[in-house]
């Protein structure tokens, strides 16, 4: 597997990006409340066949980013700015109808909670074929055998019988597989998975991750993986973006990022989670405070109050985005010294 | 069980569930409901009517132009030719068939309506709470027995039940009216409170109190009950509307106070039947009063209920 991975790593830069997100900004403004910027100038590219990870804790804006890209944010109470160029068209400027035509056909999404993403009163078979009827003009008769194949493809046992089942008759893992089958129905070129395994048990999570990995390799679909779990990212993503309070604070190839995290937040996260492979008895180094301590990005580094590396400048100026020599992006005035990481 | 009873039970259970579903019960539930209510025109209209009615009922004896029991227009009543005196200076709505001022009777009648509605609801609430606490805190067999009784009561149409109770009473009167209407509210409150208390019973903070070794009485009264009261309070405003209509209905049928010196809208409506063709205004005014007041409470209660129900949010 590692051989195919490295092959792909080499292949990605030669082709142009499939999706290019530039300076995406989402501001929520609820009646009578202060506006809240959930996504604050996020930019990243996704190349065909590439898996890009967006990692961060709850409230960092990773899910809002995906919803904004899919045009799924509620109509009122928010403002979306920036560009998301997908094969030459800006997704953010499309009308509702144009976006509906693309959703499911060009870009498909997999959600965290498969039960609430599936229609409870319609059988799995109909739900999978509906996507094909809608986007590819197939008749239900033609679509049904294909739906069967899709279910089989995503590893659902006895797919003929499952076509007639309703969502509540399937287990959580099976529902997530059914949802993936629906997402794959029109062979989209980009798949967005928003915490697809968070609601699942770890052995089921392993199954689903293996399935996603296999699909990306076999079909050449690009995948945006949104998760809070650094372990999931480490095994799956080619490029990793770490988000904090609505901004990307560090980006890098997964091998470099995990081996030498430079941003204090990434570094802090990695040293605060207990690992199965770390020597026992080692004390965890937590990140102090909580997100409620954050400073506004406009005039400071949001992470500064919780940062062990914070300088005076971190509380006075917003750190700019900078590219490092090893192709890694960083938003920090005082990044962690690689030597220190090795010792820590 | 009848579908009628089922429908009522469902409605009650929905409301009970609404309170327990919220991820942060208590403080923020009420607070977030209030934030939405403040901007809800339906709620504001209901609130305005209700407040106006309550103020009117309290001050009516002082603003009524005449004593509702006295008959200043008695000499204008001609049983054969003109049984109901028309409007004249000082009597804008005219009099009734006994020469009493109609406006004064309508104004003071609001008092009776309020008294019956409020007391019936309070007694119904207390009775229902007692049963609900019993069922909700003990569970098991106690719960089964109490709830079966409650279900049987709910499956009988409430007005029919109230008639039966009022008709069985030794002598009709205001007290009988209040008791009859209170009894029909008991199962509603009981089921509602029991539902939301069972929700609380399963909640983590009650389990936490149990794990801590807190005494059962303290758990019920300090943790379960206060967190279950939200839907009960909403229901109480809805029940007030029903109580007012039911009280009017019972009085209309002569099951209320026989003493007509104390005016009451339903009773006035009932007495107006004789003259309904020639003098429909005698029926229209009290009927309008009943409708407007019941509407006020209903609008207020329904919008509160909606605000509490997570299914209708956003």
């Amino acid at each position: 597997m590692s051989a195919t991975m490295s092959l792909k790593d080499d292949a990605t830069p030669s082709t142009g990006p499939l999706l290019s997100v530039e300076d995406l900004r989402v501001t929520f403004q609820r009646h009578g409340e202060k506006p809240f910027t959930a996504v604050d100038g996020v930019s990243f590219d996704v190349h065909p066949g590439q898996t890009v990870g967006l990692v961060g804790e709850s409230g960092c804006g990773k899910s809002v980013t995906s919803l904004a890209l899919m045009g799924l944010l509620p109509k009122r109470g928010n403002r979306v700015e920036g560009r998301a160029t997908y094969e030459g068209t800006d997704l953010l400027s499309l009308s509702d109808k144009e976006m509906r035509d693309r959703r499911g056909r060009d870009i498909a999404m997999i959600f965290q909670d498969p039960l609430s993403s599936l229609n409870p009163v319609v059988s799995i078979g109909i739900q999978v074929t509906e996507v094909m009827e809608r986007h590819q003009g197939m008749s239900r008769k033609d679509a049904m055998p294909r739906a069967r194949d899709l279910l089989e493809r995503v590893g659902i046992p006895d797919p003929n019988a499952r076509l007639k089942n309703y969502p509540h008759q399937l287990s959580g893992g099976m529902r997530q597989r059914a949802l993936i089958a629906m997402a794959l129905a029109c062979e989209p070129r980009l798949l967005i998975a928003d915490e697809p395994t968070t609601a699942l048990d770890v052995t089921i999570q392993a199954q689903i991750l293996a399935l996603l990995k296999e699909l990306v390799q076999d079909t050449g679909t690009a995948l945006i993986m949104i998760t809070h779990d650094l372990g999931v990212v480490a095994g799956l993503c080619d490029e990793v973006n770490v988000l904090y309070a609505g901004r990307i604070v560090e980006r890098g190839d997964r091998h470099r990022l995990f081996a030498r995290p430079r941003h204090p937040y990434t570094h802090g996260l990695l040293s605060s989670i207990p690992r199965l492979d770390s020597p026992r008895g080692e004390k965890l180094t937590p990140i102090t405070g909580s997100v409620s301590d954050n400073l506004p990005w406009t005039s400071a580094c949001a992470f500064a109050p919780r940062c062990s590396h914070a300088l005076d400048v971190c509380r006075q100026e917003s750190p700019p985005w900078e590219w490092e020599s090893d192709g890694r992006g960083l938003r920090c005035f005082n990044p962690v010294d690689p030597e220190e990481v090795r010792r820590g | 069980m009848t579908s009628y009873g089922d429908r009522r039970r469902e409605r009650i259970d929905d409301l009970a569930a609404a309170a327990s579903v919220d991820e942060t019960p208590g403080v923020s539930l009420i607070a977030s409901a209030w934030r939405r209510l403040r901007r809800d025109p339906i709620f504001l209209v209901g609130l305005a009517i209700t407040v106006a009615f309550i103020i009117l009922a309290v001050i009516s004896p002082w603003i009524a132009p005449h004593d509702p029991a006295s008959a200043p227009l008695l000499d204008k009543v001609r049983p054969q030719t003109n049984p109901v005196p028309g409007p004249e200076p000082g009597f804008p709505l005219g009099g009734d068939d006994r020469g009493r001022d109609l406006l004064s009777r309508l104004l003071v009648g609001s008092r009776q309506t309020l008294v019956v509605g409020v007391f019936a609801t309070i007694f119904g609430l207390l009775g229902g709470m007692a049963l609900g606490i019993l069922a909700g805190s003990f569970g098991g067999a106690v719960d089964s027995i109490v709830m079966r009784i409650v279900d049987v009561m709910l499956s009988v149409p409430s007005l029919l039940l109230a008639f039966t109770i009022a008709a069985l009473a030794a002598r009709p009167g205001q007290t009988t009216l209040i008791i009859a209407i209170a009894i029909i509210q008991v199962p509603i409150f009981a089921r509602l409170l029991r539902g939301s208390m069972l929700g609380q019973r399963a909640s983590d903070h009650v389990l936490a109190a149990r794990a801590l070794g807190v005494k059962r009485r303290a758990i019920v009264f300090r943790h379960m009950l206060p967190n279950s009261m939200g839907p009960v309070i909403v229901q109480a405003t809805l029940v007030l509307a029903i109580a007012i209509i039911d009280a009017a209905a019972l009085s209309f049928l002569g099951l209320g106070s026989p003493d007509d010196r104390q005016p009451e809208w339903g009773q006035m409506l009932g007495r107006s039947q004789e003259f309904i063709y020639d003098h429909p205004h005698l029926a229209v005014y009290p009927a309008l009063c009943i409708i407007v007041v019941a509407l006020g409470f209903t609008l207020m209660g329904e919008s509160m209920r909606e605000a509490l129900d997570p299914k209708t949010r956003r």
Binding site: G173, T203, Q207, H228, G268, S272, I273, R275, L284 | G213
Partner: protein, 385 residues
């Protein structure tokens, strides 16, 4: 307050504080129009033997539906055990009721998964903390109570000003600290922590894990930590028990469990946990289980894991339920116990791994057997064994 402290110093660290024998918790599945009829059982905990030694942290790990939370609650008698005994300091908790049980709760406390829902939103922190002390007659002296409250807050790292605040004014991590302070308020010997960090943000989890460790050292507590996250459990525990469908399948010292997982389920579980290390993720061998967890209302016969086991053998696995036993595997210590008939053969490589065809299990919801096909639902299902 002085009593348990002195007894604790007298008691030998390492002797058995909690002794669980043959514990079963079965929840009846009831259906009926007027009178409820029991139509089956959910076998949440189905025969567990477990010893907690004084001063240790025992980690209970398993996937959802394996009964680990129920087991934790049953040990505290918050779920009434169907069968079996729970000896706490020599006294059987499982048979206690009413006031005697309530008094006993002083010695065994619980920390919950969701710190928001486990704190009454209408109670101030002070009232939350005093409540338990009052219930056990520990708040006799006003000044002493107040000193104790400050001491508790300090122990969990909250400022004294927190006393007047309400739960919603705190962040998730701080709420969990309040929950821990509440458990400590009655000076318990045992604390059962049910998923103590899984509701918290990743960056805050470490704070709470470290706090639990500090408190254990400071107060000589015995912990039972129930969690689904193997890495968390491994980090905090001295010994670990792995549960699958209501029973323990493996029990071992924490380090050894990672170095030498023996039960097929433990091996699969261990290999499924993602590690934030790309090199390791790419190279390590994963044992992917097929299919889903069977419904706990209809557990498979014999070894509960045989329907998904990649090492399943034609004999014994299907019809004979393996007991937890000390195994004869090189490197396995005395305390390493495994419930598998073939564990020695698997460890030595005499039994090979094979493919398993996934079976359709249906939704995990025990009350709606999916493939029943009967319009009456489970009421028409025959009594389940």
């Amino acid at each position: 307050m002085a009593d348990p402290r002195t007894s604790r110093t007298k008691a030998q660290a390492g002797d058995v504080l909690v002794d669980v024998r043959g514990l079963k918790v079965h929840f009846p599945i009831k259906r009926g129009v007027i009178f409820d009829r029991t139509v089956g059982h959910v076998y949440a905990v189905d025969g567990v033997d477990l010893q907690l030694r004084r001063g240790e942290t025992y980690g209970l790990v398993g996937e959802s539906g394996c009964g680990k939370s129920t087991l934790g609650r049953a040990i505290l008698n918050l779920e009434t055990p169907t069968e079996g005994t729970v000896l706490f300091d020599g006294e059987d908790i499982a048979s206690l009721k009413g006031e005697t049980l309530r008094r006993k709760r002083q010695h065994m406390q619980m920390v919950f998964q969701d710190p928001m829902s486990s704190l009454d939103p209408r109670q101030s922190v002070e009232s939350l903390l005093v409540e338990g002390m009052r219930a056990h007659g520990l708040d006799t002296d006003k000044a002493a109570t107040h000193a104790r409250l400050r001491e508790l807050l300090q122990a969990v790292g909250l400022p004294p000003a927190a006393l007047q605040k309400y739960p919603h004014e705190f962040s998730g991590g701080q709420r969990q600290r309040i929950g821990i302070a509440r458990a400590l308020s009655v000076d318990p010997e045992l604390i059962v922590a049910d998923e103590p960090v899984s509701a918290l943000d990743v960056s805050v989890q470490a704070q709470v894990l470290n706090l639990l460790e500090e408190l254990q050292d400071e107060f000589g507590l015995t912990f039972l930590v129930v969690a689904h996250d193997l890495a968390v459990v491994r980090h905090i525990s001295d010994r670990i028990g792995v549960m699958y469908l209501g029973g323990l399948v493996e029990e071992s010292e924490a380090g050894e469990l990672y170095d030498l997982p023996l039960h097929p389920y433990t091996r699969a579980l261990m290999s499924a946990v993602p590690v934030p290390d790309p090199v390791l993720e790419d190279t390590r061998e994963q044992i992917l289980l097929t299919g889903d967890l069977p419904s706990p209302s209809r557990p498979p016969s014999g070894c509960r894991f045989h329907t998904r086991c990649p090492w399943r053998q034609p004999t014994r696995c299907d019809d004979e339920r393996p007991q937890l036993r000390v195994v004869d595997v090189p490197g396995a210590s005395e305390g390493h116990r495994v419930a598998c008939h073939w564990v020695e053969a698997i460890a030595s490589g005499d039994v090979d791994r094979h493919e398993v065809a996934a079976e359709y299990v249906g939704s995990g919801d025990a009350t709606t057997p999916a493939d029943d096909g009967s319009p009456f639902g489970p009421a028409s299902v025959q009594e389940i064994g």
